[in-house]
Each structure stands twice: as C-alpha cells, then as structure tokens.
C-alpha cells in the first residue's frame, strides 16, 4: 500500500513496505544519501533526520510510522546553495572531516536549536547542553571539541543578530 509523506517540503509517495526502515526508503527510493546506514541500532546517529520537527534515528523508524508526517533530511537545510547557520558554523570552524557522521550531527543540532528557540526563545546553551544534544552522534575523526565549539558559535551568532536587531 503506497505511503504518503511530506519529504523536504514536497509531497511524496513510497511504495516500500511499511516495515522498511525510513533510512532505506530515503536512500534507496528517494536517493537522498545524506542519512547514512552505519550501526542500524540507534547508537551512532548517522541516520538522524527530523520527523515533525523532532530528531529521530531513521534506522529504527518503520516507514508506516511516518505516513502523513513531515520528514526533513540534511538535504533540505541549504536553500538556493546558502548553508543554514549550523552548516555554516561547521565549515567556519573546520569541524568536518570524513563526513560520515556529519549529516546526523547537523540534523541533531538543528533540532536542538529549534527546540531551544521554541521552549525558551533564547537559544544560548552551555557546552554541556550541546554535548548532551550530541550524545547520540558518534564521530570517529574529530574528537568532538571543534564540533561543540562550532555549535556554540551558532548561538553566539543568533544572539549577536538579535542584539543588533534590538539596538
């Protein structure tokens, strides 16, 4: 039975079985290769996407569960070639290495900042908050510190922009 969902803003229909993990549908049917299949156990975070605004591990989510949902992958973040704030910060801090884990890292951080913005409107997290948000994303290249620094610079940027707007 075809399953309809909104994928990166477009209405799409999948013909995969509803028990197929979402990550396989994204990669094999819609050719969105940002989400990676690595551990398939929800440990590594390489397959992280957003469903209805929440970060989820797409390896453990059956397609049937996202019928009618709004699914966003890393491919949706840059619009007209302009990177989103999290992506930009990663480039500026030279935090990207092999790239295997990065789409998941970026999606976790985008969901984290969106959530902070919704819940307290002033997204200035502590380093520990960023680390907690990334605890499900494993990187074997960087040692995390540059990633965390880059993430913290995102909130600094948002605050600077807000202060500028207010002055």
């Amino acid at each position: 039975m075809p399953i309809a969902l909104t994928l990166n803003g477009e209405e799409r229909v999948s013909n995969h079985s509803p028990l197929t993990p979402l990550v396989d549908v994204l990669r094999d049917e819609f050719f969105l290769k940002g989400a990676k299949t690595v551990c398939r156990e929800g440990f590594c975070g390489s397959c992280t996407v957003m469903v209805d605004g929440r970060a989820v591990v797409s390896c453990l989510l059956p397609l049937g569960h996202v019928e009618g949902a709004d699914v966003e992958t890393v491919e949706s973040l840059a619009s007209d070639g302009v990177l989103c704030a999290v992506q930009k910060a990663m480039v500026e801090h030279d935090a990207v290495q092999c790239g295997m884990c990065f789409p998941g890292m970026v999606m976790s951080l985008v969901a984290f900042f969106d959530d902070l913005h919704k819940t307290n409107g002033a997204p200035k997290p502590a380093s520990a908050d960023v680390k907690a948000a990334l605890c499900g994303n494993i990187c074997r290249c960087t040692g995390y510190e540059r990633i965390v620094t880059a993430a913290l610079s995102v909130s600094d940027g948002i605050h600077a922009q807000r202060n500028e707007e207010q002055s």
Binding site: D24, G45, H65, E67, C135
Partner: protein
Amino acid sequence: MNHSEQASYYSAHSTEDALDALHERGANAQVMAGATWLLREPLRAQPLSRDYVSLSRIEGLKQIVVTDEHVRIGSCVTHTQLARQLRALPICRALELAASNSANPAVRNVATVGGNLCAVKFPAADLVPALMALGAQVQVRSRDGVETFDIEHFLAIREQLPPAHFVDQILLDKSTLASTHSSHARLPLRKAGDYPVAIVSVAASVDRQSLIRDIRIAVGSIEALPRRWTALENWARGKPLDVLAMTEKARDYASQFQGRDSVEAPAWYRVKVLPTLLGRALAALVSH
C-alpha cells in the same frame, strides 16, 4: 530486507480498532509502539515476521493526565515527553531522571514507556526499574475491558497474557508518592553503546525521626529481568537514610544477584558496580 514476506503492518486509529486488528490476526499478532526495539531484531538475525499492529497513531495513548488520585501515563508516551512533563511533578522524580537519560535524544523522541515495559528480551530498559520503585500499576486493555496489575506481577505474566491485548496506561498513585522521594542512577559504558550496564532506582519515605518508613529499591540490567532488592529494603526500614551505611550493606548483599554476561559487560562487573551505583542513587535522593 529487514522483514519476511509474511510480515504485515497495520496502523490502528483507536483502541477499539487496535483490539479488533489484534483479534483478526490471532496468535501471530504483535503490538508495535515506537518500534525502536523491534526494528533491531534483524540485527539479532530475527527478521520481522509477525503481523504488527501499530498503536503510534492513537492520540489517547500519548497523553499524561494528572487526576486527584493518579498520574496516568499513556503507553505511547515517549521518553522525551515523560522527561519534560514530569519535571513539574517532583513525586515522579525517578521516572523523570530515567526518561531524561535513557539512550540518546533521537531515540528518546520515539521510544515509549509501553515499549519499555513490553520488550521482553530487553534487560536494560531504563523506565522499568523507575516504575517499579514508584510502585506503578499497569493497565492492560482487551476486548473484555481493562485489567490493572501491579508492575511486578505484570512483568511476571506479560508473556502469558492473551494475544489480543495491549498496555493502555501506567498509573502512579499520588497519595502514596506524596511523601516519597525518589532517584535513579545508571551506569553507561562506552563499549556498551546506549545500554546501561547497571540501573538502580530508589524511592523512600522517612518518618519524623528521619527513619526510613518505607523504601523500594529496583535493580535493572544486572540480570535478565529487573527486580526489587527486597533484602536490602527490609534491612533499611526503620533505620536512618544513611548513604554510606546502606552502600556498605549493599556490598554484603550484592551476591544475591547473579549478573548476566553479554558483549557489553561481564556478569561479575555488573554485580561489582551495583553497590556504588546504589550509593549514587541514594546520594542524589538525599541531596534532592
């Protein structure tokens, strides 16, 4: 392929619809909630092969309702929801801590309390010891109506329940918990991924002389099934809530646990760390 040709999926839109679907599918039916545990089955060389009935679209199962008597938690409430909504309910502290620290954020957004209770082969479910310490009751729904079990009884019989049933709600008694403080501690290891190698949840009340009136200690991940540490509870009742003394006694009693071997940690290690973990849970309870 993560599932066999025979497997099927049905997304129920109401509790009645779910019960009808479970009935129609008979013995091969299996309830699915967040699916984070079930979708790991192919990794264990067990392709999905059942007739799955998903509860994930039933709005009524995704609510936490606080009444005069109970905190009623729908079985499809996620760990993230629990962590957020229980922050305003200090009587549920152990459960809030368990939900806040389980797995990782992207799993917590999907994994459910009902799933934790029903994943029979998952010994490291964080929420179960917390619910045991808080004396939760589990409400099970079938075509015959609803039946409520003490959580420990539910865990003992959950595999014998008739196929056409599902966990509807989890109930926490507010009056019992009103005078209780609780806490939860887990020990993760890098090589164990997101599964804690030991879990301790504690709930205790003290009298006017600061002596322990009642205490419930639940231990998870050490053995195949979580269980209460009744010998230590019995020893502690009527004594002061002294973290060091209880931790010391826990060392004497730790051999009451068998431990389980797995790739994450050997049996002896799980038992060895248990008293220290209990001490951490008690210290957090006292400081809170």
